[in-house]
């Protein structure tokens, strides 16, 4: 038997820092490249993050039991251990769901949600680390002005930070505002969009194209249900916002679809008012 080591190896703290930099860097790259154009880089960074998370467990196994690489260190704040665990689980789950989403597109929403959650946990993690390590001075300063305990305060902070992620989509409002401005410019008497007029467009039976007589031909009579391309059979995500929150949030795609489908189904261009009415109808469904 060797004599018991007096302390952790000298490599352990640098290894921890290097690992932290790799994880943070990987997450940053994945976040910045979460777009169609940079999809390959995003996938690469995602796997990098996943490997980093797995590596952390490996490092913990080879590190000194009470050293810097241990997952639970005696004397360390409970809150920090919990935060580390939750953050790692969240980031790991986000990366893992990304791997699945690469093959199964329906998992994309889950992947986005988990990544968003991980993103909000990071500043909370930073605040906590600053709190614990900056020590007494910071603590006393804040605590002397505000007495309530730290934990509920942090929870509150996290909730406030996370709420915008679940709010009404500002992108859809911006698209509607653009159409409203164009409709007003075209007709001074324009007095706002109407879900009823939008519904008329959606349900009307047209004669221009026998393959596609109505919007409902592909999107079904109940827009909250998934549709099906009348000719190719390709599944179409529900048109109604309540069933598909991503609807009408990508201005470029919205324009493309109106430009195409109005011509195909109605045999004409849709005006800005038509477009706004249509969105208003499907946002109300």
């Amino acid at each position: 038997m060797n004599a018991p080591r007096s302390g952790p190896g000298r490599w352990e703290l640098p290894a921890l820092r290097l690992w932290h930099a790799a994880l943070a860097g990987g997450f940053l790259v994945a976040w910045l490249t979460a777009d169609e154009d940079t999809y390959r880089m995003h996938v690469f960074a995602g796997y990098w993050v996943l490997i980093a998370v797995a590596l952390r467990l490996g490092l913990a196994a080879i590190g000194t039991p009470r050293g810097p690489l241990a997952l639970v260190r005696p004397g360390r704040s409970r809150l920090m251990i919990w935060m580390g665990g939750i953050l790692m689980t969240m980031v790991g789950a986000a990366a893992l769901s990304g791997v699945v989403a690469d093959a199964v597109t329906s998992v994309e929403d889950l992947h986005e949600g988990l990544s968003e959650g991980g993103l909000w946990l990071i500043p909370a993690h930073a605040v906590l680390v600053a709190w614990v390590f900056q020590g007494k001075r910071l603590r006393e300063k804040v605590l002397s002005t505000i007495r309530p305990s730290v934990v509920p305060m942090l929870v509150l902070l996290g909730l406030v930070a996370a709420s915008p992620a679940y709010a009404v989509d500002p992108a859809r409002d911006a698209i509607l505002a653009t159409y409203a401005a164009a409709a007003k410019a075209a007709d001074g008497t324009f007095g706002g969009f109407s879900a009823a007029r939008g519904e008329q467009i959606y349900r009307a039976r047209n004669t221009v194209n026998p393959d596609f007589p109505s919007c409902a031909t592909c999107h079904t009579d109940d827009p909250t249900r998934p549709g099906r391309h009348a000719k190719t059979g390709r599944e179409i995500a529900p048109a109604a916002v309540s069933a598909n929150p991503k609807r009408f949030t990508d201005a470029e795609k919205v324009e493309e679809r109106f430009n195409r489908d109005c011509k195909t189904v109605l045999g004409r261009e849709c005006s800005a008012r038509d477009r706004g009415d249509f969105i208003t109808f499907l946002a109300s469904k």
């Binding site: 169609e36 154009d37 393959d211 596609f212 000719k231 059979g233 390709r234 195409r260």
Partner: protein
């Protein structure tokens, strides 16, 4: 040892003809998304570059519907399709389809090429199955078609 070699050889010879029904998967994300929104994003190996050029020039009337898109996006997809076209990349599958294309011809429907028809000589009832719906719906029967694998299932 000898039996392993023989076994491996036998296995290889069994898979070899199947490999002939494969093309490189389409990987460009913009092309995959734009085409795949309405139908399977077909690998460009089945048509010559001039056919793809014509297709991207006539998106206003894409098999009876408008598939118009922003010019820069169309230009990008056009490049991807032309670069991967049958007469640019070659290969077994591309050669089989190209054989039936007249010099200078710009066919648009892959499903009308005799190379396709000879292998899909089924009664109408097969095509009418609800999960098939259209001849362009390769993955209905070829589960790995979107990965470029058209082996029989």
């Amino acid at each position: 040892m000898r039996s392993i070699v023989v076994g491996a050889g036998l296995l290889l010879s069994l898979t070899a003809p199947a490999l002939a029904d494969r093309v490189a998967p389409l990987t460009d994300p913009v092309t995959l998304k734009a085409c795949g929104e309405c139908h399977m994003a077909f690998q460009p190996d089945f048509l010559p570059a001039r056919s793809w050029a014509r297709m991207m020039d006539t998106l206003d009337n894409h098999f009876g519907e408008s598939a118009a898109m922003a010019p820069d996006k169309a230009a990008h997809i056009r490049r991807v399709l032309e670069d991967g076209a049958a007469d640019r990349v070659g290969g077994k599958v591309a050669g089989r389809f190209l054989r039936w294309v007249a010099p200078g011809g710009t066919p648009q429907r892959i499903t009308e090429n005799p190379a396709f028809l000879r292998k899909h000589d089924f009664p109408e009832s097969e095509w009418a199955r609800p999960e098939v719906k259209a001849k362009s719906n390769c993955p209905a029967c070829h589960k790995r078609a979107e990965r470029g694998d058209y082996e029989e299932d």
